[in-house]
C-alpha cells in the first residue's frame, strides 16, 4: 500500500509538471533595439530619458 501511495504521489507530480509548459510563457523579445547615440539636451531644468544600449536598459537623468 505504501508503494502504491508513493507511486500515486509521483504520478500527481507528473500531472502538475505536464500542465506546465515553459514554452507557453510570453516570449521575450528576440533583441532589444540598440541606441547608438544618447544625446542630452542642455537646459536649466533637469532632463531625464531612458534608452537601451546593448540589451541593457539604461536610465538617464541629469
Amino acid at each position: 500500500m505504501h508503494v502504491l501511495m508513493m507511486s500515486m504521489y509521483a504520478a500527481m507530480a507528473a500531472v502538475v509538471l505536464a500542465t506546465v509548459d515553459p514554452k507557453s510563457e510570453t516570449p521575450a523579445p528576440a533583441s532589444h533595439p540598440r541606441v547608438k547615440d544618447i544625446r542630452l539636451v542642455p537646459g536649466n531644468r533637469p532632463a531625464a530619458g531612458v534608452g537601451v544600449v546593448s540589451n541593457t536598459l539604461v536610465n538617464v537623468s541629469v
Binding site: 502504491l4 501511495m5 500515486m8 504520478a11 500527481m12 507528473a14 500531472v15 502538475v16 505536464a18 500542465t19 509548459d21 514554452k23 507557453s24
Partner: protein, 162 residues
C-alpha cells in the same frame, strides 16, 4: 522581366505574410473548445483526448481516476455542503463547501460514486478507519488536479500552448 516588387504584389494575400511559424499553437473551433472543457471535467483526460494529446490524456486519466479510486478504497468520504450550526455566520459549513468543491472537480468520479453509494458511510463510522484522512486527501487532490487539467485543456483549445 518582373521586378521584385511586382512579384511581391502579385502574390495572393494569404500566401504573403499570413503564414504562421512552424509549430505555432492554433486555436480550435469554439464548439470543440467547449466540448474539450466539459469532457475534461466529466472524465479526466477526455478533453486532451478530444484535442489529440493522447499521451497526456492517458497520464491524467490514470492518475486522477486512480487517485480517486485509491481514496475511496482508503475509506474516503464524499462530501456535500452541510448546513452550519444555528447562529453561525454563514448558512453552510464552509469547510464542507471547500471539500465538496475539491471533490466535485473530478466530475464523473464523484457523480458515479454518489450514484453507486460509494463513500457514503456516515462520518463517525468512516472516521474510525485509520486511513480515513488519507482517503479524503487523495479524493481532494484528484479533484483539484483535474481543475489544473481543465485549465490546460482550455489553454490548448484556445491556442495558447501546444
Amino acid at each position: 522581366m518582373q521586378t521584385r516588387d511586382t512579384l511581391t504584389d502579385s502574390i495572393p494575400p494569404h500566401f504573403s505574410d499570413r503564414a504562421l511559424p512552424f509549430n505555432q499553437p492554433t486555436p480550435f473551433p469554439l464548439a470543440r473548445r467547449i466540448v474539450a472543457v466539459i469532457a475534461s471535467w466529466l472524465v479526466p483526460g477526455a478533453g486532451h483526448l478530444a484535442l489529440g494529446r493522447y499521451g497526456r490524456a492517458l497520464l491524467f486519466f490514470v492518475t486522477i481516476v486512480g487517485a480517486f479510486v485509491l481514496g475511496l478504497s482508503l475509506n474516503g468520504h464524499l462530501y456535500w455542503p452541510t448546513v452550519a450550526e444555528p447562529g453561525a455566520t454563514f448558512h453552510y459549513d464552509l469547510i464542507t463547501v471547500l471539500w465538496f468543491f475539491a471533490e466535485i472537480g473530478s466530475g464523473l468520479c464523484y457523480i458515479g460514486s454518489y450514484v453507486l453509494g460509494l463513500g457514503m458511510i456516515p462520518i463517525p463510522q468512516a472516521a474510525a478507519s485509520p486511513t480515513f484522512e488519507y482517503g479524503n486527501t487523495f479524493m481532494f487532490l484528484a479533484g483539484l488536479l483535474n481543475y489544473l487539467v481543465i485549465h490546460d485543456a482550455f489553454d490548448i483549445a484556445a491556442g495558447r500552448k501546444n
